[in-house]
């Protein structure tokens, strides 16, 4: 396993390069236009409404979750083995991969059998097979309407339109994800919304404008309720394969950890295929 990568306000410039260890990793996140796409604009992603966890409970709840956060559940989610990281393979499809990573985490939380979901299907369908950036609500909306197929029907990293047939579409529909909550970055309680999701083991599809990248935020690592966002540290699940950081997961700290756009996944449709 590689060394843990932690990105913060001091070193983030070192991590903007899309070539990592000689491999093109790919970004692709474009800022969501909140005037055109305000929180809750999608039928499938209602405005955030989880009861907020009071700040005076944050530390005790975080301590109680030690060893039982989403990254821990991911690490045993494939018949006792870690679920493999998605790999956008240099394409600008991070925004299609981040909600699929969240879907895999909730499936594991529900103890559903591992299915090797193929996010390239979403990117190809939404962008008409072009290598284009997007933002996470585009892919969430597609996932809610059409689902995502397994790699048996749409191989990982494929952008072959011939794979788009009725069998693929039927398999995708078995993995429709309809229950999302749209967080509001303009809210004075945005940090509280974000922390409440993570303390409830709800993965957050997270677009970071500073990184031009979308990932899945899995765990809360640290937060001081008195210090606020400057003390925030999270664990993210990237879509750059398992070789990035520690088994595909790294940490973000401070303001770099708070997403520019965020949608939490609440529940998925169970399926065994």
């Amino acid at each position: 396993m590689g060394d843990l990568i932690t990105i913060d306000d001091d070193n983030y410039l070192l991590h903007l390069d899309t070539v990592v260890d000689g491999e093109l990793k790919g970004l692709g996140c474009i800022p969501r236009n909140y005037q055109a796409c305000p929180p809750g604009y999608m039928e499938s992603a209602k405005p955030f409404s989880l009861p907020l966890i009071p700040r005076n409970e944050w530390q005790s709840r975080l301590a109680a979750m030690k060893g039982s956060q989403l990254s821990d559940i991911r690490n045993r989610g494939m018949g006792g083995q870690p679920i493999p990281s998605r790999d956008q393979n240099g394409w600008g499809y991070c925004w299609a991969h981040s909600p699929v990573s969240a879907t895999l985490l909730v499936r594991a939380l529900n103890n559903m059998p591992y299915v090797d979901l193929s996010a390239f299907y979403i990117g190809c369908k939404v962008k008409n097979y072009r290598n284009r950036g997007g933002f996470c609500s585009e892919s969430v909306d597609f996932l809610a309407s059409n689902g995502v197929p397994s790699s048996q029907f749409w191989p990982q990293r494929s952008h072959d339109p011939n794979a788009d047939n009725s069998a693929t579409q039927s398999n995708a529909a078995a993995h429709v994800v309809v229950q999302w909550m749209d967080l509001d970055p303009s809210s004075s309680q945005y940090l509280d919304q974000f922390v409440t999701c993570l303390l409830s083991n709800c993965p957050v599809v997270s677009d970071f404008n500073w990184w031009s990248h979308s990932v899945c935020t899995a765990d809360l690592v640290a937060i001081d309720p008195n210090a606020g966002v400057s003390s925030l540290e999270t664990k993210i699940w990237n879509s750059w394969g398992d070789s990035w950081s520690q088994n595909g997961m790294g940490n973000l700290k401070g303001r770099k950890a708070l997403p520019s756009a965020a949608i939490a996944l609440m529940a998925t449709k169970p399926s065994v295929v």
């Binding site: 979750m65 559903m112 065994v272």
Partner: protein, 104 residues
């Protein structure tokens, strides 16, 4: 286990831990059979509103059984079992599950 995902953050921390706790999952992995994929053990932790039509028939039937309150726990070993409110702690849940381990 059934829990309301839209209000999960309001559960007492000791009870919400049941949904995620690693020791509980380890116990369940050790004491439940594997499913049709030959890897995943036979327990589910769901929001009650899920469309379970894509899962095995036994889980569809389990979800259709009455669950007058949420969170809810259903245990079956094929002979006997338990249906009722989810206990308040991981320890209480483990103790309850232990009663239905075949051979105990």
């Amino acid at each position: 286990m059934l829990y309301q995902s839209s209000t999960v953050s309001s559960l007492p921390v000791a009870q919400s831990s049941i949904l995620y706790d690693t020791s509980l999952r380890t116990f369940l992995d050790a004491n439940t059979p594997v499913g049709t994929d030959g890897k995943t053990h036979e327990y589910r932790i769901w929001d009650p509103s899920v469309d379970a039509s894509g899962d095995e028939a036994i889980w569809q039937a389990a979800l259709k059984r009455p669950h007058p309150t949420i969170p809810w726990l259903l245990i079956s070993n094929g002979v006997t079992g338990f249906e009722g409110p989810l206990p308040g702690t991981v320890a209480e849940t483990l103790a309850l599950l232990q009663k239905y381990v075949v051979g105990n």
